[in-house]
Structure formats: C-alpha cells, structure tokens
C-alpha cells in the first residue's frame, strides 16, 4: 500500500464515531490541562493513562489501542495549545516551552490585546500542527535517520547556542542576561547529579535531592513576582490596563504573523525531531530568529505579535516533530512522548522500527486523528479566546488573589510539599527585585531546564573523546553551532565598540 492509501485507511479509523469522540475529549481535557499552570501536558497524559485503559476495555485490542492513543495524543497537543493562555494573561508560563511567550504575550495583554495574542497562538498552533503532520507523513523515516546522528557533542553545542541566543536578545543588558543565565545553570546543579549520581549542594537536606523544580521557579519568578510588582507599584500604573478593542487578531496582525508562523512551523518541527531538544529550545530559537529577522526588532519585548506567534507556533510544531522518533524508532524525545510510549506498551504495542509494519491502523489512525483533532482545537479555542481575553479586564483586587491561588495550587498539585510553596514566595520576591532592576528572567528559567542536559551531554562527549575538548570543534555540526554562539556574543560587542570609536573620531574631527 502507498502512503496515501495508508492515510486514507487512517482516516477511516479516525472517523469512527467513538474515535471522533475520543479525539474531542482528548483535546478538550488537553486544553484544560494546558490552561492550568503546573498540570502540564506530561502530567495530563500520565494522569489519564490508567483511565483510558478502562474506557477502551470493551473494544478489540487493536481498536482499543488506536482509540486510547488517539485520546492521549489529543491531550498532548491540546495542552500545547492551552499552554499560552496563562503566559499571556497571568504572566505565568506553565511549561518551559511557553517561557518565551510571556515576554511579548503579557505585554500585549496589558495593552488590551490579549484577544489578539490568544487568537494568534491558536492560529499559529493550528498551522504548526498541520505542517508538522505533513512532515510526519512525508519525511518520518529519512528525518529520524538524520536525527539520531546528533551525538552528545552536537547536543551540547546546540544548547549552548540556544542559551546564548536567548541571553543576547532579551532585556536591555547582555551582561545582566548572562548573569541570569549562569544563575540558572547554578540552580540546575542542585540535587543528585544525573551523570555520576553525586549529591551536590544538598547539605543532606532530603528535599533537595531531587533538585529544584522548574515549575516552582518559573511560576514564582514570573507570576508571583508580577503580583508583588502590582501591589508595590500600585500607584504608578493604576488603570493602566487598556480597554479591549477587538477580541480577535486584526488583518494587520495576521499579515504580520503570517511569515513568522510559517518559518517557526518548519524550525519547530526540525528541532522537535531531535530527541531531548524539544519544544523548549524550539520556542526559544524561533523567538530569537523572528527578532533578528524583524524590521522593527525594538518592538519585541513591548508586545510584538510576532513575539507570541513564533514561540507558540514552534512549540506546537516541535510536539509534532517529537512524534517522529517515537513512532519510527521507539525513542521518546520528551517527557510527554515518554508517557505516550508507555501508553503504546500498555496496549501491547512496541513503538520502534517495526511499528508502521505491525500496527498500521493504530499509527495511521493516530496520524489521521491528529488532523481532525487540530481542527477541533482551532474551533474550540477561538470562542474560548473571547472568554479568556475578558479576564484581563478583571479588577486588580480580584485578579491578584486569583493569580496567587492559581500559582499555589499549580505548584502544590505537582510538588505536594510545603517547601516548594515557601520557595515559590521567595522566588516571587526575587522575581520582583530582578525585573525591577531589568534583569531578564527567561535566561534563568531556560538555563535551569537545559543545564542538566547540557552537563550530561558535555560529560558524554568528553568521555567519547578521552577528555579532549577538541571534540566540540571536530564534529562539523557542533563546530557550526559553537561558531554562531561565539559570533552571537562577539559581534554586537564589536559593533558597539566600532560605533563608539566612530563617535569618538567624529568628535575629534569636530574639534
């Protein structure tokens, strides 16, 4: 059978009435899960995994597997849609992949353009979903072959580039951004080292052994920090929230976002294929790329719609890309796909090189249902945008307690201990202090997430090379990443110096 025939067969599976229902409930639950900070896609899928098994119990094994996995995958990409909501409205990134969305998304909300921001995320997510699905159908095998060639050295350099790129482009001062980056890396070393198993900076305090949670830090710095800011600086910005003009993106918004959405779809998809890199790096890279390509880079950070469209598109495209190593190799590239893989195994289906041959109706049913599910999400999300967008006009006296409740709930639901709640409040104070002094928060949060992976891959690369650091330059792909990283740091510095020099000379001539 050709690919097209397989796909048509897949649609016949996806259009079974109960599979349509499963897909719908999947994306509905996914949206709810994505909106809640804390309960990210990973927890959402993990929590519903056991329930799925009992719902699908009456179907034949192959059908049950298709339906169950359609439901769980729906939660996965549904949650990726919903992830932008709290970032935009409440300045709270619920997942590491929506950290970049906060920067411009919340600014837009403050300007009364929350609807436009939410709308463009939904549209971008939809486009990304469709493009990555097409990529999955057409290029799954060749791309997975390329992706596995990414070794430890390449991952290390890619992450270095990602971190430096973000640090170079957010906030006003690169020095401050780099300070935050290093701070994030340092926080990431707390806990049991993933390479050697050594306990670091734990001081025999058991709670520290599993490390500092990304969620607590991100919610604390961004959301609680924002609350402190609103309280402490109440007089300066009372009534600063603009009225909502239109609940949806304008024609101009769509025009501005068209190219960023297209570019980010491809970029996100390609990065998503790399096991381990995933949505976080994809969203960071796409934001950076759009800021670089933009004619008005100064708009970024002040509510540029491209700054929302790009990362939200990229993280969805990456979610689609991450399905490739899972389906073709049985290698989960992210925490969520790892749980999806668990779901396959639960239904006695071994994801791996033989999956497409042994279980075509499950795989193609899943792929077809993702088309259907993405369409459902778009239809589901656009009316929700209107409702959510109104939330931003909630009076501050109601909104602030709501954010606090939300943050505490989100963190406690995942961590279930009071230590993280104290840490949350502390991070809130710290976040207020940092943003008041123009220290950008995204580099810290991203470094905290990527730091352990960075270190892991560095150790592996050095083991392979017998401790020779040249391995990072000898591997061509890695060398290119590092070269760009160096240029990223050095070029703006040189340009600035030259500019200053130019000024000095002109002054001299003037004299």
């Amino acid at each position: 059978m050709s690919t097209l025939e397989f796909l048509l067969h897949g649609f016949s599976v996806a259009f079974q009435w109960y599979n349509l229902l499963f897909a719908f409930f999947g994306v509905l639950i996914g949206t709810a899960v994505g909106v809640l900070p804390g309960i990210g896609p990973m927890n959402g899928v993990a929590l519903l995994l056991p329930i799925t098994a009992s719902i699908t119990g009456t179907l034949s094994p192959e059908q049950a597997a298709a339906s169950g996995i359609i439901l769980l995958a729906g939660i996965y990409y549904g949650a990726m849609y919903g992830g932008s909501t709290t970032s935009i409205l409440l300045n709270t990134p619920g997942e590491s992949s929506s950290v970049m969305t906060v920067i411009d998304g919340h600014q837009m909300a403050k300007q009364g353009r929350a609807g436009a921001a939410l709308g463009i995320s939904a549209i971008g997510s939809f486009v990304a979903g469709i493009i990555s699905l097409l990529g999955l159908i057409l290029l799954a095998k060749p791309l997975s072959a390329i992706a596995i060639n990414f070794g430890p050295a390449e991952y290390f350099s890619l992450m270095i580039l990602g971190l430096l790129a973000v640090s170079g482009l957010v906030g006003k001062s690169m020095t401050k951004a780099l300070i935050m980056l290093v701070m994030g890396l340092l926080l990431g070393t707390i806990g049991i080292d993933a390479v050697s198993g050594a306990a670091r900076f734990t001081y025999n305090i058991p709670i520290l052994y599993s490390g500092i949670s990304f969620l607590t830090i991100a919610v604390g710095l961004f959301a609680v920090g924002e609350v402190f800011k609103s309280i402490l600086e109440r007089d300066s910005n009372s009534g600063a929230l603009a009225k909502i003009d239109k609940p949806y993106p304008t024609k101009q918004d769509l025009k501005d976002s068209a190219l960023p959405i297209t570019r980010s779809s491809f970029l996100g998809f390609l990065i998503g294929i790399l096991p381990g890199a995933g949505a976080t790096i994809a969203s960071a890279f796409s934001y950076v790329m759009e800021k670089k390509l933009s004619k008005n880079p100064e708009k970024f950070g002040k509510g540029a719609i491209e700054g929302v469209a790009a990362p939200e598109t990229a993280n969805n495209a990456a979610a689609g890309g991450a399905m490739i190593p899972l389906l073709t190799l049985g290698i989960p590239g992210s925490g969520t796909t790892a749980i999806l893989m668990g779901a396959f195994i639960m239904y006695n289906i071994q994801p791996g090189p033989l999956l497409f041959e042994n279980h075509p109706s499950v795989v193609w049913g899943l792929i077809a249902s993702m088309f259907v599910g993405n369409l459902m999400l778009l239809i589901l999300n656009l009316p929700l945008v209107k409702i959510f967008a109104k939330m931003i006009s909630t009076p501050v006296k109601y909104l602030l307690p709501l954010i606090i409740a939300f943050s505490i709930f989100g963190v406690y639901a995942v961590q279930v201990n009071s230590f993280d709640l104290l840490l949350l409040i502390l991070c809130g104070l710290f976040g207020y202090f940092l943003s008041k002094n123009d220290f950008p928060l995204p580099p810290l949060v991203l470094a905290l997430v990527l730091g352990p992976m960075l270190e892991n891959n560095m150790m592996r690369a050095l083991t392979l090379s017998n401790g020779n650091y040249a391995i990072f330059i000898q591997k061509p792909i890695s060398a290119i990443f590092l070269l760009i990283s160096v240029l990223w740091l050095v070029v703006p510095f040189l340009l600035k110096r030259r500019k200053n020099k130019g000024k000095n000379t002109s002054v001299e001539i003037g004299n």
Binding site: N43, L47, P152, A194, A198, Y209, I345, F406, F409, L464
Partner: protein, 338 residues
C-alpha cells in the same frame, strides 16, 4: 459582572478537575492500615527513562495486575531517570511515605549505596523489599552495519586499543551496565579504568547513540533491544546467560561459548516505602506471588527472553544481603568501593 462570575465558576471547575487528578499521582495518608487497601490509585516510581528494562517491568507488572483483576486500583508509572537510579531512589524515599507508592529497582539499588564515587544517600535499607519479579539478561550489542561481526573481533579491538572503542550503556557510570563492562574488561585482562563507558539515562537513549554512530557497542539488558534485533537494526554479539535464549533469539551465542566466563543477571524487584504498613506488605507479598504464577506472566517472560525466578518478600530480603556482599567484592576488586 455576570461574566466574571461565570469565569470564576469555570476556573473553580478547572481547579477541581486538576485537584482530582493530582491525587492520583501522590495519594495521602488515608488508608494506611486500611482493610480495603488499596482504596486509591497507586504510583510506581521507575528510576529510568521510559522504554528501558525497569520501565518495561513496571508497566508489565501494573498492566497484568489490573488485567487479571488482582489489583483493582489503577497504577501510574512515574519515570524519574538520572544518576544511575540515584535520582529516582531519592525521589521515592523522600516523597513517597504512604502505602500507595511502589518502587521498581534493579541492582543499582544496592550498588549506588556502596560505590565510592557519587554514592547515593539511600539504599535498599531505606525501602521495604516486597518481591523479586524476574531477571533480565545482560547483553552486548552493535549496530547492524558495524564492523564487529562477533565477540572475538570486538574483543581484539578492545584489547589492542581500549581508548579507541566506546561502549555505551543504559545506566550511569558505576551502575549495572557499567559494572558488566568492567567485569568484561576484568575477565579479558584489560585495565577497567581504560575502557570508555558512556552512560545514558535508560537503554532507549543508549540505543539511539549506537544507531547514530555515537558509540561503538551497547552494554545493556535484553529488554527493549529484542525488537531492534528482529527489525535487523541491531546485532547482539553475546548474551550473559549460561545457556542460549529460546525462540527467535536462539542463534545468539553466549559469552561462555565464546570463551569469556561472564554470567550476569539484572533482577527486577518491587519495593515499598520504609514505613509501609504490615497490612500493605502482606497484600503485595501475596499479590506478587499470585501474579508471577499466572500463565499470562510466564508467557510474557518467555516472549521477552527473561529468566523467571520469583522470590517472596523474605527470600528477596535475604537475597539482597547476599547481593550486597557480592557487589562489595566486585567493587572492591575494581577499586570502586566507598
């Protein structure tokens, strides 16, 4: 104002939804010593990434327990990889204190506690052994198009230039896959410290690296690899069992056949929290025995090439003591003891 109320209601619903869900992953103290145990969903902590040996064991166990109606409550599998199982162990010991958390561990549960570098603060004395499910067999594999067609050619290269050959494994340095490599080197008369071992968080990650030519050979367990052997992507050079495996894997030679006296099993054991109630301990002791005696369980073992060898709570506890002595000896010999 009406809309505001609507929003509030909606969010409350969402919050409740989340709250209901989150109970499943954590549980609380309700039900300890309860006659209706287990009355809540259960969590199994797996200290490796999905797709590896312990993960397979945890998923197979929980699926069969549910399918065969031995346990009615659903299971959630929590993968906590890193540190050669030290991260997952610490997570389990510090965060799961009631009767609703289980831990699926293998030899690193003991090894991490004993080894010199990066030793875990927690070991098998910080958990309650409930039963040993089965044992997995250590293997050495290469990519299908590798120049190593048999163990002899690999060993020849390793002897000639240990620093030019990299062996990847599905667990961190100092844990099981690493120890097998060290044992192999020791038996071959190669200085174990010269062998290049690259540890990953699970055998699926390690497998990726040999498929992508980022490692020369893979030392790990049979589980998770057999699918790739059948698809023709991976070739197993040797299995560390005393006799050949059955079924489709019957033509793979053992280490012993090829002149290397290496036999190594990785047991998969189920543990509960240290302060698990007597009631819950008795429950699992009985259910795990029942599970391992079912035809379905035995069929799974046969299909995957695992070695049966159920041990009840008492035998397993005793076995762990013997294992501790054995690993102490091995680590001492390799100069890796704490």
């Amino acid at each position: 104002m009406k809309k505001w109320r609507f929003l509030l209601v909606m969010f409350t619903v969402l919050l409740l939804l989340g709250a209901c869900g989150s109970n499943a992953s954590t549980g609380n103290n309700a039900g300890s010593g309860d006659k209706n145990y287990p009355s809540q969903p259960l969590t199994v902590v797996v200290p490796n990434s999905a797709g590896g040996g312990n993960d397979t064991a945890a998923r197979m166990m929980s699926k069969l327990l549910n399918d065969l109606k031995l346990v009615e409550q659903p299971f959630t599998i929590q993968n906590k990889p890193g540190g050669g199982q030290a991260v997952g162990m610490a997570e389990f010991v510090t965060k799961y204190k009631d009767d609703y958390g289980l831990y699926l561990g293998s030899p690193p549960t003991i090894i991490n506690y004993l080894r010199k570098e990066g030793n875990s603060p927690y070991g098998h004395n910080d958990v309650t052994p409930l039963g040993l499910l089965y044992s997995d067999i250590a293997i050495l594999a290469v990519k299908a198009d590798s120049k190593y067609k048999d163990l002899a050619s690999f060993v020849a290269d390793l002897k000639a230039n240990p620093e030019g050959v990299s062996i990847v494994g599905g667990s961190g340095p100092g844990s099981q896959d690493h120890l097998v490599v060290m044992l192999l080197a020791d038996k071959l008369g190669i200085d174990p410290n010269k062998v290049k071992y690259v540890g990953y968080d699970g055998s699926s990650d390690a497998l990726t690296s040999i498929l992508g030519d980022n490692g020369d050979a893979l030392a790990t367990d049979l589980s998770g690899i057999s699918e790739f052997v059948k698809s023709g992507d991976v070739r197993i050079l040797a299995v560390a069992s005393p006799e050949r495996l059955g079924g489709e894997l019957a033509d793979i030679p053992t280490y012993q056949e090829q002149g290397v006296d290496l036999v190594y099993y990785n047991w998969r054991g189920v543990f509960g929290p240290k302060n698990m109630s007597e009631n819950a301990i008795a429950f699992w002791d009985e259910k795990l025995k029942e599970l391992t005696e079912t035809e379905e369980f035995q069929a799974e073992l046969a299909a995957s090439g695992f070695k049966p060898g159920y041990m009840n709570k008492e035998d397993f506890t005793q076995y762990l003591k013997e294992q501790e002595d054995m690993f102490t000896d091995i680590l001492k010999k390799l100069n890796m003891l704490k």
